[in-house]
Subunit: 400 residues, 2 copies
């Protein structure tokens, strides 16, 4: 048997995707996944779009296409940046990818040599950590607080340790639900401006704001190379597997070469169905529906947590997105709680794996977008039982 | 501006895709691309399949899915190996990918460390060379003849130089159109059996045989790790971007991890549309139509070449696939011919870039699947003019 490449020894299978296998049992109420609510998917409009695309220009929709992505889709993305964020982005600077995950893979391919330092938030998005791990970097964690990242630590990682890359999710972050304040965005940009660090700003949830004013991306305060990632997974449907990366021309050329080598181009058919869907429907009205439903589910989950969990258990109260972040009292283990909760038929993701530097043992992530209100109320009640059992253990206060 | 990763200095943009931009002018008759004929795409049946999928189970078709690929699609692929080649393949050993190109990327990720030796055919498939280049291997060419690869050279590369990987396209190879004989398949397997070399057998064109008997894959003579690649691009439609790799369980687990890190999974929607299309239609009848059309176009192209090209210009006469391989007299340059032919409004791909060891200056690739018969006849006549101009040059016989 031939040896696997060295890079594979660094990469773990996604812990979350392994948990999702456990939760396939429908009697388990799962807050573990990061799944959108499927009954909100625009199934009928997508069917209409598919029918039109195949009837009006079927052969072209089934043929090979350009690596950069369908021109009409790149133009739509650029126009939306202008309309929603007043950003002037040239469609020629956009590469269409198989969801944000592929944007991360391609940025890793193009920028990361083995041993390069990559700054990530603590807790940080596991999919990004996994994507970058393939390229054998070292990771440095930057703790995330209610206003944004720890600026002293960011200064150390970016300026003293000269990180090659800093990856951030400033809006309703996965897993914490936290959002960078406007002041934090400016401060982060100020640190990055003094560096050669590649800044990767991922924004899968930005359009899912329930209240408060949208904030400009950190990238908008930068003049240097920075990469803005987006996806249709949360505003249209994740099963399309379509996202994008905005890059400067030199880097875009490299990303296109890497994309050619990786899979030639994204599905022509699915890109054209999406373009037709976007042309024929009011996306803002659709997003308003998603926001209303997710916002109500967030409110309910927080309300039930306050009713069912002991007061020493805290949680974030995000302004948008899909996740809450729960912190147990000192010394309690979220993995121990996971085992107790599976017996109660409720699941979540323990927070530890989100910390590249270790730690986070008493934290956990809850998804509020996927489950119905009845299941949210019942699931939080079941979790409350598990937490009370855990906190009654003498060991809980003294370490896991 | 931050530095790009070292790996990117090895990777060239696809020469063919650059040529395709030149040939976007519809007045140019192009034999350059590797495009299937779009009027043969099953547009209506795909529209029916899309309508059914979205009507009957739309939300699931638009949701996230498993990395391995939709179970029904993996089962279909395994059943077809049994029906067509009498191979017993467990669906659990199949990973669905974004076309063969992604299978190559994932195999490179999983197996290739910088400096590893990869054997490729001379001429060899450019997409594979590009995919593997990302992982910084060294390449060793194995010349391809009418019966198969040069076995002495293969022995040297695989056994003496202990290549980490050998990549082959035994059926109607791209770019040459050549096919390994049964004896060559056995001999290649015998050499590989004595080695730890990872054997990657790519078979995009195997179902497009115009005459003669199908031959068993080289992999069927092996008991060790070997990887069989397939694609729906040539038998259904390339715009779906769906292919697969068959692997042993340990390697499949690594490939799944690499796929998770690369893009989570292939589009759920397009996988389900394809499954429905395959369930509701007679694929063999569809492939028979493709074979009949491509076979007739191949016959016509060879007939017109014999009529229009000087006798000292030779070409392969493939039993299937999409390509012919033309060899000019000694000393003539296919790049010089390309310039002459673009003036005549006809395009092809010069052969040089298909040779990892250099050489091939007087060879070129012609695609016969995409153009209509009228354009094939007219394009070969135009090329004949260009060739006669080239051969009349005193320099042609003495080097380019």
């Amino acid at each position: 048997m031939p040896a696997f490449a060295k890079r594979m020894s660094q990469v773990r299978r996604s812990f979350i995707r392994e948990i999702l296998k456990v939760t396939a049992d429908p009697s388990i109420i799962s807050f573990a996944g990061g799944l959108p609510k499927p009954d909100l998917f625009p199934t009928g409009p997508m069917a209409d779009a598919a029918a039109r695309v195949l009837a009006e220009n079927g052969p072209a929709a089934l043929q090979y296409s350009v690596t950069e992505g369908e021109p009409a889709l790149r133009e739509w993305i650029a126009a939306r940046y202008k309309a929603k964020k007043n950003l002037d982005i040239d469609p020629a600077h956009i590469l269409v990818t198989n969801g944000s995950q592929q944007s991360l893979d391609l940025l890793g391919k193009v920028f990361l040599d083995p041993g390069d330092l990559v700054g990530v938030e603590l807790p940080g998005y596991i999919g990004a950590i996994q994507a970058f791990s393939i390229f054998e970097p070292a990771f440095a964690g930057v703790p995330l607080g209610p206003e944004g990242p720890d600026l002293d630590r960011l200064t150390e990682v970016v300026l003293s340790r000269r990180a090659k890359m800093f990856y951030a999710v400033p809006n309703f972050q996965n897993p914490s639900g936290l959002t960078y304040s406007l002041a934090a965005r400016r401060a982060v940009a100020e640190i990055l401006r003094m560096s050669d660090t590649v800044f990767v700003e991922d924004d899968p949830y930005g359009e899912l704001r329930f209240f408060g004013e949208p904030l400009p991306p950190v990238t908008s305060f930068l003049t240097q190379d920075a990469y803005l990632l987006g996806t249709f997974s949360k505003i249209a449907a994740p099963g399309l597997r379509l996202g994008w990366v905005v890059a400067t021309p030199d880097t875009l050329a490299k990303l296109v070469t890497a994309k050619q080598a990786s899979d030639l181009h994204c599905s022509t058919l699915v890109q054209r169905i999406l373009i037709q869907f976007l042309a024929d429907n009011d996306l803002d009205a659709h997003i308003a529906t998603i926001r209303a439903v997710y916002g109500a589910q967030r409110d309910l989950m927080i309300e039930r947590i306050k009713a069912e969990f002991p007061a020493e258990v805290t949680c974030t109260e995000p302004e948008g997105g899909m996740f809450l972040w729960v912190t147990l009292p000192e010394g309690c283990s979220a993995f121990a709680l996971f085992d107790l909760c599976i017996k109660e038929k409720v699941a979540f993701v323990p927070g530890g794996p989100f910390f590249v530097d270790g730690g986070g043992e008493r934290t956990l992530r809850l998804n509020f977008s996927n489950a119905d209100p009845e299941r949210i109320a019942e699931g939080i009640a079941r979790m409350g039982k598990g937490i009370k059992t855990l906190l009654a253990r003498p060991g809980c206060a003294s370490g896991s």
